[in-house]
């Protein structure tokens, strides 16, 4: 019973915190660019505004186009709910391992790409093709990062990985350092952040994610934006779980929960600020340089595995 309550608490938490995290990243970017920024609650204001509008659909929109925002939102929510964020003993966690998690992201990507091509506008199919290009290059790198962590902890279950890394005696893992760099690169590519895609552009030559969702409006757009924020949160919490899991509450340890919440809050703040710094420092890549960028991520992830076997840690 306690486990289910905890699961529900975590699921509500990730959905409610995700827009604030996005707002925090945007706020940090604004500060770094010497602007005052719109505040951390701005994504919520945008969501409320969008939910109050009337939806407009193209005449030739199929049911796929209508249902995609809901599929996207629920699959991102599911992904975020499966990551051990504040405690390791959640009833949903044994249901899937990291490979299934990659699969959930792939389902969301397939649906948003299909929906983008559904209307038949040129921007939609352009965005969908670019998204698939980025996705098929990022996925193997992400899997290799997960495999490195799995080899260290002898399990593909995220909970076991976190428990092994957080509660064993402290050790330096050079292989995880490589994997972390690769993971950050995949995170930037998958969440449409700056070196690969610019989340705040509508310039037809460069946009990827924005091109796919051009046809959406009102509540559909709100759900997609919200799903994007949850995806960012899910990726960051996966990164936290793999590379800095310290502070997470152990199984059945209710007293550690407040501490785990504070640790999570601090880690998310730091990760958001770091992401904003990375985005401010780097320039957007040409689309033809993206395969090189993600190829490097894959290479680093493979190197992580090799270094693990050579050094034995």
């Amino acid at each position: 019973m306690n486990g289910i309550l905890l699961q529900l608490f975590q699921d509500t938490l990730v959905v409610l915190v995700a827009p604030i995290l996005l707002g925090w990243v945007n706020q940090c970017r604004a500060w770094l660019q010497n602007r005052s920024g719109a505040g951390v609650l701005q994504p919520y204001r945008v969501l409320i505004k969008l939910f109050h509008k009337d939806a407009v659909l193209a005449n030739n929109a199929s049911p796929l186009f209508r249902s995609t925002p809901y599929i996207l939102f629920s699959s991102m929510w599911l992904a975020a709910a499966l990551v051990p964020v504040i405690a390791t003993d959640l009833p949903l966690s044994p249901a899937v391992d990291v490979i299934a998690l990659v699969g959930i992201f792939a389902v969301a990507r397939a649906f948003i790409s299909l929906a983008a091509m559904d209307i038949g506008t040129s921007f939609g199919s352009l965005g969908a093709r670019r998204e698939m290009l980025v996705g098929f290059l990022a996925e193997p790198a992400l899997l290799m990062v997960f495999f490195t962590a799995s080899v260290i902890s002898h399990s593909t279950s995220l909970v076991t990985i976190v428990e092994t890394l957080a509660h064993k005696q402290f050790m330096l893992y050079p292989s995880l350092a490589f994997a972390a760099v690769a993971f950050v690169m995949v995170l930037l590519a998958e969440n449409a952040r700056v070196p690969v895609d610019n989340p705040s552009t509508h310039l037809e030559l460069t946009m990827i994610h924005e091109a796919m969702i051009l046809e959406y409006s009102a509540r559909h757009l709100a759900l997609i934006e919200w799903a994007g924020a949850i995806k960012l949160l899910a990726y960051i919490t996966i990164g936290i779980a793999l590379f800095v899991p310290w502070g997470i509450a152990e199984a059945g340890d209710w007293g550690a929960l407040p501490l785990a919440l504070v640790a999570l809050f601090l880690k998310l703040m730091a990760a958001g600020a770091g992401l904003a710094l990375l985005e401010t420092l780097s320039a957007k890549l040409r689309i033809f340089r993206v395969p090189e960028f993600l190829g490097t991520a894959f290479l680093l992830a493979v190197l992580a595995m090799l270094v693990h076997y050579l050094l034995g840690v």
């Binding site: 050790m171 090189e292 680093l300 050579l310």
Partner: protein, 218 residues
């Protein structure tokens, strides 16, 4: 596993990471900075080896590395490219993603090659021998795939870094006399390279060594 050994492993991995970063780098200026960073990693890891194995002569070689490879050589190279007025793109013979894949194959090869050797060595750093060998081969690959003279020289110097690391990890370093000699050689060598650069540029108006093929008699 002792904490100092974990630290050495970490620095070895960082050395390999920098070797790959140099392989993928397009700008000469960043290449020099990466070279300086690699020297710093080398110096710190040598100091840790010295501290954990109580080999006092390694402190001197760490200091020597710091002075020669982190301060003197990058400063010389920076001055050189400022005088030659070249800062931007480096041309490569094969494109960078393929170079990286070749590099990955080299790393696998080096790791396999080093495995039987490192089992013979009795040092605490023996597992890093594969990484040292890999960074030697990667620097060699960089020399092969670059068309211009300055990146080739940086590749040569980075190769020396890898060799130095290999010596430290297999046998706790060479005798101090040998190390002093090598450091002096590298320093004098890069002076001579600098003079050569000016001569090459005066003769061909560029630093692309492809032009040197014209010197052959037909």
């Amino acid at each position: 596993m002792a904490f100092s050994q974990q630290l050495i492993n970490l620095f070895a991995a960082l050395l390999l990471l920098i070797a790959f970063a140099m392989l993928s780098q397009r700008r000469i200026l960043s290449l020099i900075n990466l070279f300086a960073l690699q020297g710093l990693m080398l110096s710190v890891s040598t100091a840790i080896v010295a501290w954990s194995s109580h080999q006092h002569h390694l402190y001197y070689s760490a200091a020597l590395t710091l002075i020669v490879k982190v301060v003197a050589l990058p400063w010389l190279l920076h001055r050189l490219i400022r005088k030659l007025d070249l800062k931007w793109d480096v041309e490569t013979i094969i494109n960078i993603p393929s170079t990286m894949l070749v590099g990955l194959a080299l790393v696998v090869f080096a790791f396999n090659l080093a495995l039987p050797i490192s089992q013979l060595a009795g040092t605490i750093t023996r597992s890093t021998l594969g990484i040292a060998l890999a960074s030697v081969l990667l620097s060699f690959l960089m020399m092969i795939t670059r068309r211009q003279a300055v990146p080739q020289v940086i590749g040569f110097l980075a190769m020396e870094n890898g060799l130095f690391f290999a010596a430290t990890s297999a046998t706790y370093g060479m005798p101090l006399v040998v190390e002093l000699g090598i450091a002096l050689d590298v320093l004098v060598g890069s002076f001579i390279f600098g003079i050569f650069f000016f001569h090459i540029r005066d003769t061909f108006d560029s630093l692309d060594i492809k032009n040197m093929e014209n010197l052959k008699e037909n």
